[in-house]
C-alpha cells in the first residue's frame, strides 16, 4: 500500500511533465508548418520530396537523421557545396533565411515529424542557439 502511494507521488508529476512536453512539441510542430509553407516549400515542395537533381528531399532524408547539427546550421546560416542525400549528390545553394532560433526549432520539429520522418525528440530554441557560425 505504502509502496503504491510512494510510486503514485513520484509518477503523477512525471506524467504531468511528459504530457506538458508532448503539448509543447505539438505546438512547435504546428508553428513549424506555417514556417515551412512560407520559407521552405517553394524549393523542397509540399511533401518534402524536393526537386530531382536540384533541391534535396527532406522526406525520409538520411542526411537529416545523420547530420542534425549540420542541418540546423544550414537553416541558420545557409548551405553551399556538395551534399549527399539518400545516395544522390546535390550542389545547389541555400541562402540564410533570416529565421529566429525559435522559428528554426519549430520548422525542424515540423520537418522531422512529417512524410515518414519519425524523430521523437523535440528540438528547442536553446539547442539551435548553441549552433554557432
Amino acid at each position: 500500500m505504502m509502496y503504491r502511494i510512494v510510486l503514485g507521488i513520484i509518477l503523477i508529476p512525471l506524467l504531468g511533465v511528459a504530457q506538458e512536453k508532448e503539448r509543447e512539441f505539438a505546438k512547435s510542430i504546428e508553428r513549424g508548418e506555417v514556417i515551412y509553407e512560407d520559407f521552405c516549400m517553394n524549393c523542397h515542395m509540399p511533401n518534402g520530396e524536393g526537386v530531382a537533381g536540384v533541391y534535396p528531399p527532406l522526406a525520409k532524408s538520411d542526411y537529416l537523421v545523420k547530420n542534425l547539427e549540420k542541418s540546423i546550421y544550414a537553416v541558420k546560416f545557409g548551405l553551399e557545396g556538395e551534399v549527399i542525400v539518400n545516395g544522390k549528390t546535390y550542389n545547389s545553394v541555400m541562402a540564410p533565411l533570416g529565421l529566429t532560433d525559435e522559428e528554426i526549432a519549430d520548422v525542424m520539429n515540423y520537418i522531422n515529424t512529417q512524410w515518414g520522418n519519425t524523430t521523437k525528440k523535440m528540438l528547442t530554441a536553446e539547442e539551435v542557439a548553441r549552433i554557432k557560425k
Binding site: D38, F39, N42, P46, V51, V54, S92, V93, A95, L97
Partner: protein, 373 residues
C-alpha cells in the same frame, strides 16, 4: 434519352470541376544547335537580383543579402550608404534602376525589404539616392508598403521608368492572398506608379477613391518579379509567379484588375484548387500563362541588332528550371519557347544593356554576357 443527356452533362460537369490544369499552349524546348557563347563578366556572386548599366558602361548590381556593387572592368566596389535591409525569406536588397536623366542628376532607385515603421516584420520599400563616388547621398524613401509582416514571401520589387518619366514598381501580396491583392485600400499585389520624386501623379486611377492607396496603378497581382517597358510600344509589361502553375505575362493598363486570386490558371502547391475560375468579367486575361510554372524572374525584350534572329523576343529567367527562356511573339501571341543557358543555375535577372548586349544574373555564379557566334 433525356435522362442519358442529363447524366452525360453531369459527368462532363463533374470532370471539368476537378482541379484539371490546362498546360501552356506552347512548350519550352532545347535548341537543336547552340548559336551563342557565354562570357562571365562578374563572378563570385550569390544572388544578383537586379542590374543597371551606367552611361560609362560600368554596372550596378545588387546582391540580395544587402550589398550594392559597382562593377568597373570586372572589379567590384561596394557602394556605401544603403539603408538597413530586412533580409528574410525572399526579401533583401532587390532591384536597381537609373533615373532616365542619370547622366545629369546621378539619381538611382532601388527596392528593398524594410522593417521601418510599426509592427514586427517588414515590407517592400523604394528608395531614391544620388550616387557620388560610390556613396549614396540624399537618400529618400519614396514608398514603404504597410503593414510589416513576418511572412517571407512575395515582395515583388521590379522597377521601371516609362517613356514619360513615370516610375513604376511592383509589390507582391506578401503571402496574404485572400486579403491584399483585391483590396485597393491595402498594399501588396499591386503595380504602382509615381513621379520620379515619389509624389502621386494626379491622374493615377484611384486618386479619388476614399482610403485607396493612391500610388496603385493596377491590382490583382501575386508576385511580379519581371517588368519592362516594351521597346516598340512603350507599354509596361510584367510577369508574375503563380502558385503551382499559372505564372503570367501581363500588359499593364491603368486601373485594371489582373484577377489574383479570383481567377488563375494555377492550383495550390498541395494540388487542391483555390478557385474554379480562369476568367471572370472585369478581370484581365494574361498575355501568356505558364503551366507548369517556370518561376519567372527578370525580363528583357531584345531590341538591339546584336541578336538579329532574336529581335523582338522576350527573355525571361527561370528560377525553377534554371534556364533563360526565349519567347518568340508573332501576331500578339507566343508561338515558340526556347531554353537558353541551360544548367548554369537559377536565372534571377536579365537586361539589355546600352551596348546592345544581353546580360544575365545567375544565382551562385554572377553576371554573364551572351554573344552570338
Amino acid at each position: 434519352m433525356k435522362s442519358i443527356c442529363v447524366l452525360i452533362s453531369l459527368l462532363v460537369f463533374s470532370l471539368s470541376a476537378c482541379a484539371q490544369q490546362e498546360e501552356s499552349s506552347v512548350k519550352a524546348e532545347s535548341p537543336s544547335t547552340i548559336n551563342y557563347t557565354v562570357e562571365t563578366v562578374v563572378s563570385d556572386m550569390k544572388n544578383p537580383w537586379g542590374m543597371a548599366f551606367l552611361p560609362d558602361g560600368s554596372l550596378l548590381v545588387t546582391e540580395k543579402e544587402g550589398k550594392l556593387l559597382h562593377v568597373i572592368n570586372g572589379q567590384k566596389i561596394e557602394v556605401g550608404g544603403l539603408p538597413e535591409i530586412y533580409v528574410r525569406g525572399q526579401g533583401g536588397l532587390m532591384d536597381v534602376e537609373l533615373h532616365p536623366n542619370f547622366s545629369k542628376n546621378k539619381l538611382i532607385y532601388f527596392s528593398y525589404a524594410s522593417a521601418e515603421g510599426e509592427g514586427e516584420g517588414g515590407n517592400t520599400a523604394i528608395m531614391r539616392a544620388k550616387l557620388v563616388d560610390n556613396q549614396l547621398k540624399e537618400q529618400k524613401v519614396l514608398y514603404k508598403a504597410t503593414p510589416n509582416t513576418k511572412r517571407g514571401q512575395h515582395f515583388g520589387s521590379r522597377i521601371s521608368f516609362d517613356r514619360d518619366g513615370f516610375l513604376y514598381f511592383s509589390i507582391g501580396e506578401r503571402g496574404n492572398r485572400d486579403v491584399n491583392p483585391q483590396d485597393i485600400t491595402r498594399d501588396g499585389g499591386k503595380i504602382y506608379r509615381l513621379h520620379d520624386d515619389g509624389s502621386i501623379p494626379k491622374d493615377n486611377p484611384f486618386v479619388n477613391v476614399p482610403n485607396a492607396k493612391k500610388a496603385i496603378y493596377s491590382y490583382g497581382h501575386r508576385n511580379p518579379q519581371g517588368m519592362i517597358v516594351h521597346p516598340v510600344t512603350g507599354a509596361i509589361w510584367t510577369h508574375e509567379h503563380g502558385p503551382r502553375g499559372g505564372d503570367e505575362i501581363n500588359i499593364i493598363q491603368k486601373g485594371k484588375n489582373y484577377g489574383w486570386p479570383k481567377i488563375s490558371y494555377g492550383i495550390n502547391y498541395s494540388g487542391t484548387p483555390f478557385t474554379e475560375h480562369t476568367a471572370l468579367p472585369g478581370m484581365e486575361q494574361p498575355f501568356f500563362y505558364w503551366v507548369p510554372s517556370i518561376a519567372p524572374s527578370g525580363m528583357a525584350m531584345v531590341s538591339s541588332d546584336k541578336y538579329p534572329s532574336w529581335k523582338g523576343n522576350l527573355l525571361v529567367g527561370s528560377l525553377k528550371f534554371q534556364y533563360l527562356e526565349r519567347l518568340v511573339i508573332e501576331n500578339n501571341s507566343v508561338v515558340k519557347r526556347e531554353k537558353l543557358l541551360e544548367g548554369m543555375g537559377r536565372v534571377r535577372s536579365v537586361v539589355e544593356a546600352p551596348d546592345g548586349y544581353i546580360y544575365v544574373g545567375i544565382e551562385n555564379l554572377g553576371v554573364v554576357k551572351i554573344v552570338m557566334k
